[in-house]
Assembly symmetry: C2
Homo-oligomer: 500 residues x 2
């Protein structure tokens, strides 16, 4: 094989894989957004067939010999090509370890289990979901066993979602947070509570949708390339490349902040994805590098920006325009305080910044124990409820507001949750760095996202998956990642709000 | 090869093709319904890759030798298997004649040209669409040349959309219609015009959507398997199998009948598709057999049922409930007359039953001449406008309301339009036959679609593509198809309405 030809074939192969990703992505997106209720089996069938094709494409002899050839000539490749070959070979070497029939069966199980989760959540019926979730957990353990025999399966998955992360790493990280945040939460609980009545009331869906599109534009998304839909659980997906991005939200008619922060959160993911350098499109380097870095961006826009005083001042006139009855008698400061109310609550995606990490810790504890064989899936609801009582002091009224609230486990994102907390902490340290050169508050107060987005694009987005998460962190931060920036940010902000 | 194994492989192959159809179908559907504006190139790219895979799958050596083997053993196959092999070999023998790079380029052109058509229609800018439409017509002629060298290319495409149909056949059929309908239209034009003010006014979109879902349920669609979306031009599509069907409509805020009859029309297509016997799913026999038979069902529900007195009587209470201000002072008879107003008009999809065929004839004439080389694409707008003046006596104000109104040409459905008129005529003869055993008016007046749908399922739907259109017609009608049932139906109905 000629090197020149091999390099061209590398690009063709990735373009092909992008098309299959697009097909599988849009089938899933359709299932989440538009498809009639009883079509999941039909869709699972098609996704099974296409996944089989992807498997063949990614692990077939032709692909393997191409990549091995390129790997042997890696000194003659560009930095980008080297990284492509590395990532694809890594996937292949892993996928090769999973028997094909099991891989396909697992993909079909996931399509089905997501569907069942929807119904189970709707009817608060964990028993309906339990057999599927049991199979998902079994599948996850089995896959870890195939891919990394001898390694702790939960460590395997943590590292899959965020390179370098392990149970030991998480135990330490969460330990640091717990040490600082538990006393902070206690102090806040003893202070007079803020009034959040201004963000409650009645907010018609069509107005919330208009607000969502306003927010998307404001934070710098290009609506010609980024779509908005409604789903049970908000998410972001790239279809085929970063040129077609979709975010989703969920409108609560009695609370304007729920969809608002979902949109800004998913918008952060979409900014990161669509910010990949255009020449990365249709390659494995297109889009964000890891779950942790992804969450650093989504939670950066949601919290560090979205829940800041200047941001609320900036959007306040729009709130008054769209919802005059709700906001006519308020000040921006009222809204700022309302969206930063700290209060132990049931739903993770609606939790305040300070208690949020406790929600993540609960999921981390439960996953760790189920994968480790110390807890059975059937006992998850009871353990969930017990931990919510212990960590947050609240009673879970039903599984819909408890163990069934998140979709993640239904599609095997087990080991993913810790990245939400890690991402929050990365984001806080990015912000600290950004402030060294940019007047962030001044820009945001004016609604000018240009400098902030340019900084993120230049330091983070444009690389797509070219740099490893660790490399990226070091390059951006000019030093090691530390949880302290995050803890300091929270302490300072909430000491101010609650007058501690 | 063992016959048993070959028969199994035949089913696996079709299941695989269904999955690709599903992927291509949902990509197209997303483009029409949900996708952000600037994502067409990205989508075209993915569809190009997947079409290439379909081409390989359908015409690859492995497939060809499998089908040739089964064809040699056809006496040992079931009737269904024989038909599958026949249809797949027919497609292969044709596709094999098209060079692969041209086939792929054409698929990508179609994705792009549909996108450009949307913009061109929106801005009434034919010049924007012209270069794409020229390429589509060139492609259509070229494909006909590859598949049926020596045959007239328009004859080739007419026969593709409806087996057995040719220019000669159409000239005769349209001639018969013209002979009877032109005098009828003249007489109607001289009679006092009916008042259709009750269906005009203001009809909010969300109420029209509720009405659409009511109509879908009423005519017997299973909403757990049939979805509804909004598009520029209404259409119906099956995704993967008849278990996932989508119809679309377009709401006009000033006219309740536009979406209403689109829904019933597309609903007819969806009833036909979803009425395929379940054991035809994931095979090439799933879904309707031809465009003509398909239109016979859509126009059966739209006109023979939907524009009948008993149907209007049945839905009248719902109209009053949803739009009290519009219908409080009306009678069902007012609505019946309004939805059957005959008046030469600009838009085919909104034309009355009597002038409808003239719209089709104009497209037929134009297509015939462009494919035949007697007319250039750039001259289509002027010719369109001239024929509308000549046939219908009206002036076309702009291309949006003229040559750009239909999406069909943008996706190479050239030779398709005659099937609308043929389908209408088939449907009228089906209705005549159905009335021999069923009290159609009595059932519809009660809103009981059971017997009507059961008759259609038993005689038409359940066969999917098992029977050829000609065989099906003969089996249903117990004799030859004749245009007379259609002409007689129109004469009788409109003589009554207009008191001729």
């Amino acid at each position: 094989m000629e090197l020149k030809e091999a390099r061209e074939r590398l690009m063709t192969l990735q373009a092909k894989m992008s098309a299959y990703d697009h097909a599988l992505g849009i089938l899933n997106y359709d299932g989440e957004t538009t498809a009639p209720k009883a079509t999941a089996d039909n869709r699972a069938r098609s996704m099974g067939v296409l996944s089989e094709e992807v498997y063949r494409l990614q692990t077939g002899e032709e692909t393997v010999s191409l990549l091995e050839f390129l790997d042997e000539h890696k000194d003659e490749l560009t930095e980008k090509e080297q990284r492509m070959v590395f990532l694809m070979l890594k996937d292949i070497r892993q996928m090769k370890k999973i028997p094909m029939d099991e891989y396909i069966a697992f993909q079909m199980l996931l399509a089905k289990s997501q569907d069942v989760w929807h119904t189970a959540k709707e009817t608060s019926d964990f028993a309906l979901f339990e057999p599927y979730l049991t199979q998902v957990y079994d599948g996850v353990k089995k896959i870890a066993g195939y891919c990394a025999p001898g390694k702790d399966p939960y460590d395997y998955w943590l590292n899959e979602f965020e390179e370098g992360v392990s149970k030991e790493y998480c135990d330490k990280f969460f330990g640091e947070l717990r040490e600082k945040l538990v006393p902070l939460i206690k102090k806040i609980g003893e202070a007079p509570q803020v009034d959040d009545s201004c963000i409650k009331g009645h907010f018609p869906e069509y107005k919330q949708e208009e607000f969502a599109r306003y927010l998307m534009k404001l934070i710098g998304l290009d609506l010609d390339h980024v779509g908005l839909s409604t789903t049970e659980h908000p998410f972001t997906t790239s279809l085929g490349s970063h040129f077609d991005e979709r975010i989703t939200t969920n409108y609560k008619l009695d609370n304007v902040s729920s969809s608002m922060f979902s949109v800004v959160h998913e918008g952060g993911h979409a900014l990161y994805d669509t910010g990949s350098a255009d020449d990365l499109a249709y390659t494995v380097l297109d889009g964000g590098v890891s779950m942790g870095i992804h969450e650093s961006q989504s939670r950066f826009y949601e919290n560090l920006i979205g829940r800041s005083r200047p941001f609320i001042e900036c959007i306040f006139p729009k709130l008054v325009e769209l919802f005059p009855e709700n906001f006519a008698d308020c000040t921006p400061e009222d809204v700022y305080r309302a969206v930063n109310k700290v209060e132990p609550s049931l739903i993770r995606t609606e939790a305040d910044e300070v208690t949020y990490c406790l929600h993540v810790m609960i999921r981390y504890e439960l996953e760790k124990r189920v994968v480790g064989g110390e807890l059975e899936v059937k006992d998850l609801p009871a353990e969930w409820n017990r931990l919510y009582k212990e960590y947050l002091g609240i009673d879970v009224p039903d599984d819909k507001h408890g163990v069934l609230q998140d979709s993640h486990w239904s599609f095997a994102a087990i080991g993913y949750f810790p990245s939400y907390a890690l991402g929050s902490a990365y984001g806080a340290q990015f912000m600290k760095k950004m402030r060294e050169t940019i007047d962030v508050d001044g820009c945001i107060a004016k609604g000018d996202f240009g400098p902030v987005n340019a900084w993120n694009r230049e330091h983070i987005w444009k690389y797509g998956s070219l740099l490893k998460p660790g490399e990226l962190l070091e390059k951006v931060l000019g030093g090691p990642f530390e949880a302290s920036a995050y803890v300091e940010y929270l302490e300072k902000k909430y000491t101010d709000i609650y007058g501690l």
